[in-house]
Symmetry: C2
Amino acid sequence: MHKGRLFVISGPSGAGKGTICKEILENENIRLSVSMTTREPRAGEMHGVNYFFVNEEEFKRIIEERGFLEYAQVYGNYYGTPKMEVMDMMNDGIDVVLEIDIQGALQIKEAYPEAVFIFILPPSMAELRKRITGRGSETEESLERRLGETLKEISYIDKYDYCVINGELKEAVDRVAAIIMAEHSRVSEDVYKIIERYKEEI
Amino acid sequence: MHKGRLFVISGPSGAGKGTICKEILENENIRLSVSMTTREPRAGEMHGVNYFFVNEEEFKRIIEERGFLEYAQVYGNYYGTPKMEVMDMMNDGIDVVLEIDIQGALQIKEAYPEAVFIFILPPSMAELRKRITGRGSETEESLERRLGETLKEISYIDKYDYCVINGELKEAVDRVAAIIMAEHSRVSEDVYKIIERYKEEI
């Protein structure tokens, strides 16, 4: 049986990685990795579906056991990607997709460089500015700071395998789907097993 | 403008690389590299379409100028892939596909390692045996020799980037198409140009 692969979909916020991920999960035979967090569940959120909800003690224990592919502290709460969860799915032959910011992706690259790293880019800074302004949640000052931040983030693109520009959503989704399909045709250990089979057949 | 890429489709004879190539040429925005040969044109063959027909003196001159990505002598005739032809198309932003045996592909790997190397595998040795027998052109002895040759050829698979098993033709063609699409999303020099544009925009 094929081992599953880990696809890390990352990029600056506003590039549309969430929307692309949602489409990929609907159309491809792939599963989303469920994160772990110490924050309180919100109404309707379910343990094991939206997040694994744990207390800080438990979370810190897993950090010490190096049990996270990546983790971060945001506004006093911890968030992380449990390694075991992802590895179990891959060992069952299931592809896993992970939507994450650039800092998280760089941590995963350290912990598991065999993953496939896909950077989602906005079509232009002008378009990104428009998308962020459209959400209406930023002041002029924080908008400029965010765009500056985005430029810094984009400079990490050389750590990634692929770059998909999200201008037209359907095209971007098709590209990510093609990357997933192509990566399954990579010459890998699986191929060597096949060759052994040919040798036995002759 | 994007530079075109070179896709080398290769594999043992009987794996179906010719059929896959034909489908790819029909469906994708890609052009076939035209080979050069010293053999006489057959009825209906056109210079520049089927082959570039040249005399031996001309062919040997191009060999000496290192003007071939690969070449071989078969039954006294020379066959080769002119480098200039392929490079010109790629500089015009056109993808090029090249269908070639394993020896030729290994020569191209030396001359132009940036190409994308795709190995087409038959689904099994039993199926390959059936396909070759179906053509009816082999004796039992030459069949066994050919299958042994195929096994040796398959051992070169680790020089390739991708491996596509040609069981169901449509699936194999979809996989090759996905590889072409995915390779266009690779982080490359093109991406750095885009990043420069973002920086200027802000």
